[in-house]
């Protein structure tokens, strides 16, 4: 099943009118067939099919105004592409009413503008376009369920596997063992070993195999026992998954999720304790997510699985057991590329992602005690990076501390600090500061490990510094 999305006519277009359908349900289309016409106030555009297949459902009526860019407008089932559900009937038919995701995805259609169709300029990249991305509004009176991060991830995988037959999970010990960190608990039982696949210890091999399967029309979720072991496979993540869409001139996307715990666990030494946020954040052609709480873990993992691009999904082992409220709604999908303001404040902006958000929140609490109101931004998505939210915050607070668990050099904090200096220089009352891991491989000894990893106290000190308050 391929989703056909509402295409954008220009980088700034957010919505348009679906003027006319030129096909009906049941029609067979070939790549290049014009299937619909779309209008904005500026132009009309023909929508062409990129894939071969049968139009299985038109999701938006002709004449509808205000269709959001990247909303699903139709579905194409490619014969031979989607595997037929097995006779046991376990796999339910894909649910079709996915909420529109206003996400900067590659539309599954080629847009040919009739009037001002020139797109020679690179899309404006001054400030990442987080505009228009919003978390879905939750229904009034929504209830919440306390859920551990690991179970939220599991729920996301299970829901997406029920929804889409093409989704499968593959990795070391994901099946019979129920996951090295128990994220895949129960999945083998529900989906069977055709879709929950234990691999040998061969990361380079199965990452490549996953990418190939994605080329072949499937939607793999590749689990790395930890991201440290993905270093064996990083060639496929970058050279094969991230670059192929571009190298193929848009023909060959790679819808795949690489996920697993990232960063330092506890006392497992240098080879098992590394934060890869900056590594993957560096690479065009990837999306990189690093949620903090269970709701974001669930909503973003579902978005990642649906995304037509390769997504690196960075979890944190020390967060797996932590419980958070997760809204009990039918299909909780979050937009990729939107930061979350976790605490509002006026005096200093603290930017963090993944487990560091906890430290930033703790620091904010302590800072409040000495009269400093910190605004805490949880990045959630590192690529695309929601610089807009960060910059808006800095315009208000005039100070920023960038927090990350990984090394400072060429890091996430460096990127954010540079963006802030570039776009909000005149608003800054102090140089941006970074809190990061010490610039050494992570030591095993308890005292050295403590000294090496960043914590809430480091953030408090940095925040005091940018506020020109007495520090210890």
């Amino acid at each position: 099943m391929t989703d056909i999305l509402m295409p954008a006519l220009s980088p700034t277009m957010e919505e348009g009118k679906l003027a006319k359908w030129l096909v009906k349900e049941g029609d067979t289309v070939k790549p290049g067939d014009v299937i619909a016409e779309i209008e904005t106030d500026k132009a009309t555009m023909e929508v062409e099919a990129v894939d071969e297949g049968v139009i299985s459902k038109l999701m938006v009526e002709a004449g509808t105004e205000g269709v959001k860019v990247n909303a699903i407008i139709a579905q194409l089932s490619a014969e031979g592409e989607a595997p037929k559900p097995k006779a046991n009937g376990k796999a339910k038919a894909a649910k079709v009413d996915a909420p529109p995701q206003a996400v900067a995805e590659t539309p599954a259609v080629e847009a040919k503008a009739k009037n001002d169709g020139h797109r020679l300029r690179a899309p404006e990249q001054k400030v990442a376009a987080a505009e228009g991305l919003h978390d879905p509004t939750l229904p009034e009176g929504v209830t919440y369920k306390k859920t551990a991060v690991r179970d939220a991830l599991r729920d996301a995988i299970a829901e997406e596997m029920r929804r889409d037959e093409r989704v499968f999970l593959m990795g070391e010990e994901v099946g019979q063992y129920q996951g090295a960190y128990k994220v895949s608990r129960g999945l083998l039982e529900e989906f069977g070993d055709r879709r929950v696949i234990d691999t040998p210890i061969t990361e380079y091999g199965f990452a490549g195999l996953g990418v190939g399967a994605a080329f072949g029309g499937l939607r793999p979720i590749v689990e790395f026992m930890t991201f440290n072991f993905a270093m064996q496979a990083i060639d496929h993540i970058i050279n094969s998954a991230a670059k192929t869409l571009y190298m193929s001139g848009g023909q060959m996307g790679c819808p795949i999720v690489f996920r697993g715990p990232n960063g330092a666990a506890s006392r497992v030494g240098a080879q098992h304790s590394q934060d890869y946020s900056a590594w993957y954040g560096h690479v065009p052609g990837l999306k990189v997510l690093a949620p903090y709480d269970a709701a974001d873990a669930k909503g973003l993992l579902k978005a990642a699985i649906r995304d037509p691009n390769p997504v690196v999904f960075l979890e944190h082992e020390l967060m797996y057991g932590v419980e958070f409220d997760v809204p009990e709604v039918e299909d909780f999908v979050l937009p990729i590329g939107k930061a979350r303001i976790r605490r509002e404040g006026t005096d200093v902006t603290l930017v963090a992602h993944s487990r560091m958000v906890k430290f930033a929140l703790d620091a904010a609490e302590e800072l409040a005690g000495i009269g400093i109101e910190a605004e805490v931004i949880d990045l959630r998505s590192l690529r695309p990076l929601d610089t807009e939210t960060v910059i808006e915050s800095v315009k208000k607070t005039n100070r920023i501390v960038c927090c990350e668990e990984g090394w400072r050099f060429f890091g996430v904090g460096a990127e954010i600090a540079a963006a802030v200096v570039e776009h909000a220089f005149d608003y800054l009352d102090a140089p941006p500061l970074r809190v990061a891991q010490k610039d050494v491989p992570l030591p095993y000894a308890a005292n050295l490990e403590r000294l090496s990893l960043p914590n809430a106290q480091d953030i408090v000190e940095a925040a005091k510094k940018v506020c020109y308050r007495e520090t210890e």
Partner: protein, 337 residues
């Protein structure tokens, strides 16, 4: 590629083990077992943290192989490495203190259980990434050939590791260049919770070198004498410049993969059966007694001596201070002055 040249020492041929050797093997295996049991206890007390992979059950492999090595031969292995270090002659104190992350440890607390090294004993780690030691060990062998010594490198790895691609890249080069490396596959039947049959299309791992022209054989890895015999042949072959060899040691790990292990992937009976019928230490003990090489009293003395060493190392590992905070910043790069 340089062949054997003047640098080579005259090696004494590996002899049939004598009574004293046999008692030595028994003692060494017992030391490893008691050491590991103690490490397990210290872990339970919170003195050791992170991952801690015990070698209990596999003692005959490393003791048998190490018994025929010369001091300039090199050894490299994965993270299940405590036994290898003790067999390579590293001190129990230094190993245990590394497990507790203290100054007295082999890496001054910076490496931990999975990453320990001793230049002095030609022990090159202690590697946390499954399979990494195989090309690394092949590179050590390359350095021997390059320098014209006749030292041999032993690269130990697991059945699970034997599915990593880099293993085969290394095999090819080792055979192509006739490098003096012996690959010891410690087939303990499981990689974490995955039995070999669930992960390997060819489960007879000694055959894994066939397409690289590397001969191999299966060895009863619970029988220290069988191990020693097979290793002697393979090491001699490598020393003579005839290239790599694969020894698949059929062995078994009694404990969980690391300290936390769901233990659902095998039955308790399976473990118990090996313990009762194939235990490497019990089997050698019986041989020693049957041949009247030792009396029960002698064995008690050995047990007491081993316990003394282990208790001393545990005490040392607790008394040794944490590393100086300044150590955080040392050893990142070699500082040239």
């Amino acid at each position: 590629m340089a062949g054997k040249t003047g640098g080579a020492k005259v090696r004494k041929p590996v002899s049939e083990p004598q009574k004293a050797d046999l008692i030595g093997f028994y003692r060494d295996m017992l030391l490893i077992r008691r050491f590991e049991e103690k490490a397990g206890q210290l872990y339970g007390m919170g003195l050791i943290a992170g991952f801690c992979h015990l070698y209990i059950g596999q003692e005959a492999v490393v003791v048998g192989v190490q018994s025929i090595l010369e001091p300039d031969d090199q050894v490299i292995t994965g993270y299940r490495d405590h036994g290898h270090m003790l067999a390579a002659g590293m001190t129990s104190r230094g190993v245990m203190a590394e497990l507790t992350g203290r100054e007295g440890g082999y890496a001054r607390g910076k490496g931990g259980s999975m990453h320990m090294f001793s230049r002095e004993k030609n022990f090159f780690g202690g590697h946390g990434i499954v399979g990494a030691q195989v090309p690394l060990g092949t590179g050590l062998a390359f350095s021997n050939r390059y320098k014209g010594t006749d030292a041999v490198c032993i690269a130990y790895f697991g059945d699970g590791a034997s599915n990593q691609g880099q293993v085969y890249e290394a095999f090819n080069m080792a055979s192509l260049w006739k490098l003096p490396v012996v690959y010891v596959i410690e087939n303990n039947q499981y990689a974490m919770g995955t039995s070999i049959a669930r992960a390997s299309a060819e489960t007879e791992l000694f055959k894994r070198g066939i397409s690289f022209e590397i001969p191999g054989e299966e060895v009863d890895g619970m029988d220290v004498l069988a191990v020693r015999k097979a290793a002697a042949k393979a090491v001699q072959r490598a020393r003579d410049g005839d290239g790599p060899y694969i020894l698949e040691m059929k062995t078994y790990r009694y404990r969980g993969h690391s300290m936390s292990d769901p233990a659902k992937y095998r039955t308790r009976e399976e473990v118990q059966d090996v313990r009762e019928h194939r235990d490497p230490i019990e089997m050698l003990k019986k041989k020693l007694l049957d041949a009247k090489h030792v009396t029960e009293d002698d064995l008690k003395k050995i047990e007491a001596e081993v316990r003394e060493i282990v208790n001393d190392s545990a005490q040392f590992a607790q008394d040794s201070p944490e590393p100086d905070p300044a150590e955080l910043w040392t050893d990142v790069l070699v500082e040239s002055r």
